[in-house]
Symmetry: C2
Subunit: 106 residues, 2 copies
């Protein structure tokens, strides 16, 4: 699974909003997810396709409806593999940052 697709998918506020909605109430249909949004259904469809391609959302067809479920694994992977790297030694880096910036400044 490409980490780039996940980052790209998360970079749009509308898509993060959709993830938030699924986090609040998992297993919604497309129309459920559209309700109250300032977007056409087709726009939401596109966003969901991007989230699905990034493996952040999984779907299941049930009759004429399509149910959407959030998949926490890729988000967790980013937290573990990528953010974790910057976390380690965070306080040290922050202290170093302040020290470096303050050299030769008022």
């Amino acid at each position: 699974m490409s980490m780039d697709a996940v980052f790209k998918a998360l970079s749009d506020p509308s898509r993060r909003q959709l993830l938030d909605r699924l986090h609040d109430h998992n297993g919604q249909t497309l129309n459920d997810l559209c309700s109250g949004l300032e977007m056409t259904r087709q726009a939401v469809t596109k966003h969901l396709a991007i989230l699905e391609a990034a493996n952040l959302v999984a779907t299941r067809k049930q009759g004429r409806e399509k149910l959407h479920f959030i998949n926490p694994v890729p988000i967790n992977d980013i937290a573990e593999r990528w953010i974790g790297k910057f976390e380690r030694g965070r306080l040290k880096a922050l202290a170093e940052l302040k020290r470096n910036l303050e050299r030769e400044e008022p």
Copy 2:
């Protein structure tokens, strides 16, 4: 600080690469950061400006050089505020996801 700017800044592979480089060796000049990249200096300048606007990178001028330092705080904030939300109950959500997807499938 806008969380959206941070997500947007992190969505580009070149910018994540620059952060990686600063993580490896902090306090580099613009030319340091350009060396060996398949990009013009001006492209790197633009990326660094975006990272700086998102508060992911801080700079200090030293003579005719400009030193760049990574700031771990916004990344940490995202981990805490946003990813943390999806982390909580991750295993439960994953089990639920599998259960939902497997209903009525081979």
